[in-house]
């Protein structure tokens, strides 16, 4: 599809001969995300159809729904959206704080504290892509009765971008300028034409905190604010109590800004335990209404579903379980650093070895016997802002082919059956976190590799260590002191820019940045860097999409990155609970619209 086709199609939508939904579908077919397609329409003066993307809300009065009990087997520890790293914290603070808009699961924006979603039609978007103007909803009050206004929005921008505050959300606010137009209008200005404008003030990163309670804690003392643990927001539920790492209680907000909402009188989010017992607590004993993130073998979920009390919800997002083959040498120190980017992995520097490794994992078996509905096999790393899939990648499982490739490349089997060449043996340490499906995957991979003369030494590290950012610990995934590792990486928003920056060379995780870089695999390619930079300034959504597909193809065909299965968000809920979930936003993004059928 070229630019002309695109303009013609947009023209058809404007004339009314093509529905917006039809347009989004066609865009998805050429690999364009739904959010980007809707933004494209917005740029052309067609307001996005946001209302239909959220299921209808039936209750006709506020309250009376009793208690809503949600189970998170990883508990939240902090309730300030600008500090809480990780999904659990973002979801917990979202119970109280709201952004201007959130992402519905079809990739459209849903207004929350905004009166409407900006578009060129309503004057919200400038045609040059350099600014976006948000109109705020009127009559919104904080839980303590104060009015919500543009000053609060401006304050959040100042707060988040202030280096002294050290907010985790700073990346979304640092490079923009926010101007107050009037009490209920703000304008976000960008330095350069910005294709993806819905970042600041949107979704998890956009949760707004009240100026009047945080203004005295907007500097280096930000972490001392008492409201970090006792939030006062604008949402449907008011704060009652919070025990970090344990549970969170809230109650109905009688002055919520939407009619008839919320439905439930009280809300409890209980943390802790493990995924399997959480699944049981919902689907077997029905002690809870909803359980988050069911990282459980599908077999078990299916058997629990058979009880007839609860069901499993599967929402496709961009998360992916994948294997990284280390391009650097983890067994040798170079200038006092293991896996230094100055070193080269003795075996994986041979592309033939990497090719063989990619042929040795049976994704079909993983999907069928281990992950089930929770892990469809994939050949792509970038899968799913709705069908953003590269059509060029294929996966194959063939031990015979792997053997052929290795034979041809001169890797000869030794007496113990393990291949070697020039003193380098194909014997790799393969690490991951302690998690039943991952240990199963390791076993499957190991057996196939063994038949191709490659010995995998399996290592599993307890998740709280593996995923920690503890600089002193050698077993973290960010250090990657192993030949191979496997985990799931998540895609936080519907746009792939944040997601694909994990392979640019300036993000490489190393001693110099305390292993905080986003590029954990230490993959480096000049071509990739160049294309990524190009995509950052590309306003044309179609060209931009093509660039991201190219980036996916570069990493996947290098075989340093071996995608295994997609990981849709899997959750469990009681049959009568009507929830609103989204792949592109947190679980609690629209808690105001949850209700129970009786």
């Amino acid at each position: 599809m070229n630019e002309d086709d695109l303009r013609q199609m947009i023209g058809r939508v404007q004339r009314g001969s093509l529905s917006r939904r039809g347009f989004v579908k066609r865009m998805a077919a050429v690999g364009l995300t739904a959010p980007m397609a809707t933004q494209l329409l917005a740029l052309s003066g067609i307001s996005p159809a946001s209302a239909q993307s959220v299921p209808t809300y039936a209750p006709s009065r506020r309250g009376g729904g009793g208690a809503l009990k949600i189970l998170y087997w990883q508990a939240s520890t902090l309730l300030n959206p600008h500090f809480g790293s990780g999904t659990t914290n973002a979801d917990a603070s979202r119970v109280f704080y709201e952004p201007l808009a959130g992402w519905a699961t079809d990739g459209t924006l849903h207004p929350i504290l905004a009166a409407e979603i900006p578009s060129t039609d309503n004057g919200g978007l400038s045609p040059d892509g350099r600014s976006v103007t948000w109109k705020l909803k009127r009559g919104v009050k904080w839980h303590d009765g104060q009015d919500f206004s543009a000053d609060d929005v401006i304050f959040n921008w100042e707060y988040a971008k202030n280096p002294a505050v050290a907010a985790v959300s700073s990346g979304s606010y640092r490079d923009v300028n926010v101007v107050k137009v009037d009490d209920h209008t703000v304008r976000v200005e960008f330095n350069q034409p910005t294709p993806f404008w819905a970042d600041a003030f949107v979704a998890a990163i956009g949760q707004l905190i009240p100026k009047h309670l945080f203004k005295d804690y907007a500097g280096a003392n930000a972490r001392d604010a008492p409201t970090n643990l006792r939030p006062v927001g604008t949402s449907a539920y008011k704060f009652v109590s919070f025990a970090p790492g344990d549970n969170l209680r809230a109650e109905l907000n009688p002055n919520y800004h939407l009619d008839n909402r919320p439905y439930f009188d009280t809300l409890e989010i209980k943390g802790g335990g493990d995924a399997v017992s959480a699944a049981r607590a919902v689907m077997q004993t029905a002690d809870f209404d909803y359980a988050w993130n069911m990282q459980v073998e599908d077999e078990i979920l299916k058997r629990l579903e058979a009880n007839g009390r609860g069901k499993v919800n599967i929402v496709e997002g961009g998360s992916i379980e994948f294997v990284q083959l280390n391009p650097t040498d983890p067994h040798r120190e170079v200038e006092g650093e293991r896996a230094s980017i100055k070193s080269e992995h003795p075996a994986f520097r041979d592309p033939k070895v990497r090719e063989a490794m990619a042929l040795l994992i049976d994704r079909n078996a993983l999907e069928q016997f281990i992950y089930g509905r929770g892990g469809p096999a994939t050949a792509n790393f970038l899968n799913n802002p709705p069908r953003f899939t590269s059509p060029n990648m294929r996966w194959e499982f063939s031990i015979a082919k792997a053997n052929e490739i290795l034979d041809a490349a001169g890797w000869v089997r030794g007496r113990d059956g393990i291949r070697a060449k020039d003193g380098v043996r194909l014997r790799f340490i393969y690490q991951t976190s302690v998690n039943a499906p991952r240990q199963r995957t390791q076993a499957v991979y190991k057996q196939a590799a063994q038949r191709a003369g490659i010995d995998l030494e399996l290592k599993s590290v307890t998740a709280s260590v593996f995923f920690s950012s503890d600089v002193a610990n050698p077993d973290t995934y960010t250090k990657f002191f192993a030949d191979m590792q496997m985990y799931t990486t998540t895609m936080p928003q519907a746009d792939p820019e944040r997601f694909m920056n994990q392979y640019v060379s300036w993000e490489v995780s190393s001693k110099a940045n305390n292993w905080q870089g986003r590029n954990i695999s230490r993959f480096r390619s000049e071509e990739y860097d160049r294309i990524f930079r190009e995509s950052q300034g590309e306003l044309d959504p179609v060209k931009r999409a093509a660039l991201f597909i190219r980036m996916n193809d570069i990493v996947v065909s290098s075989n340093h990155i071996i995608p295994l299965v997609k990981r849709p968000t899997v959750s469990a809920s009681l049959n009568n609970l009507r929830h609103v979930l989204s792949a592109w936003d947190g679980t609690t993004w629209l808690l105001s619209d949850w209700w129970r059928e009786t």
């Binding site: 077999e299 499957v444 190991k446």
Partner: protein, 308 residues
């Protein structure tokens, strides 16, 4: 009849055939029915894990997705796990490791404990005080964090020298041993204190026995009863400690099916594949139970003061 000379052989009391101390112990052990039964079961278990894999030759890691979570059948007498791997083969193989870890760790703990305890018990005075401080120190150390530390510090260098399985084995055994010798040391020291003042020891000392002889021939054998009981409990403890380490991802690699690891893998499937957890659980249960009974029987058999 003192001093008198028997007139004839027929008048002498019926002479028992001479029984040595070991024969005596065996005679007493046999009287403890549970201990004998347990010893038989334990021997069967040990022979099973040692020679079983020679008879039951299915590989432990053969993945067969067509035979997942099968209940016990002729092809798989103990069923299969969720990758279709044969559980009997895995339990036999895992038993070697679990039992080896259990017994070796016990030997380390008992060896250290007896050494420290007997030195403290014999020396008394300052050396005794110092050694008891050391014991208290070890008792008050938080075990798990220290275990983690030791494993992080030494795992890589050790596995580099002797290979993964052996390296982890040595480390697990040493680590478990190092944290379990204290009760043994205290027991041995207390026994020494009471025994070294006993008349038979005094007699031996009066006859000019050396210190080493006193300890090895006279005191230690008499102190061993309680030590053996503690040792049997240590074996059980070590088997369980190994599963804790595997559970935390610090023990053997996840593809080595020790009994603890098998249980850990099976726990999520407990309600619809109970056989998977049942058999390794049963193996641990039987081992621990029989070792305890055997220990019980041994204590009775080796107690020199007991007259039957």
């Amino acid at each position: 009849m003192a001093g008198s000379i028997p007139v004839s052989a027929t008048a002498s009391p019926a002479r028992k055939p001479h029984i040595g101390p070991w024969g005596e112990a065996w005679r007493r052990f046999r009287k403890h029915k549970m201990a004998v039964a347990s010893a038989v079961v334990l021997l069967i278990l040990i022979f099973g894990v040692l020679f079983g894999p020679l008879i039951w030759t299915l590989p432990i890691d053969e993945i067969d997705f067509t035979a997942r979570l099968e209940s016990p059948s002729l092809a798989h007498p103990l069923g299969t796990d969720d990758l279709g791997q044969d559980l009997l083969a895995r339990i036999l193989y895992g038993g070697r490791i679990s039992l080896a870890v259990g017994f070796t760790a016990m030997l380390v703990a008992v060896g250290l404990g007896v050494l420290v305890g007997s030195i403290a018990g014999m020396a008394g005075g300052k050396l005794d005080a110092a050694l008891m401080w050391l014991t208290d120190l070890f008792l008050s150390l938080p075990q798990l964090p220290l275990l983690l530390l030791i494993i992080y510090l030494f795992r890589e260098s050790l596995t580099g020298i002797v290979g993964v399985e052996m390296g982890v084995f040595i480390m697990v055994v040493v680590v478990i041993g190092i944290f379990n010798w204290m009760p043994v040391a205290r027991l041995v020291r207390a026994q020494f204190f009471s025994l070294r003042e006993k008349e038979f020891v005094e007699a031996a000392r009066a006859l000019g026995a050396s210190r080493a002889r006193l300890v090895l021939r006279h005191i230690l054998p008499n102190a061993l009863g309680p030590v053996i009981v503690t040792a049997t409990i240590d074996v059980a403890g070590a088997i369980i400690a190994e599963s804790t380490l595997s559970f935390l991802g610090l023990g053997f690699p996840p593809d080595i099916p020790t009994w603890g690891r098998l249980l850990f893998d099976a726990k999520d499937n407990l309600d619809f594949a109970p056989h998977w957890a049942l058999f390794p659980g049963l193996a641990i249960f039987l081992t621990v139970l029989t070792i305890n009974f055997v220990g019980d029987g041994l204590r009775d058999a080796l107690d020199p003061r007991r007259v039957t």
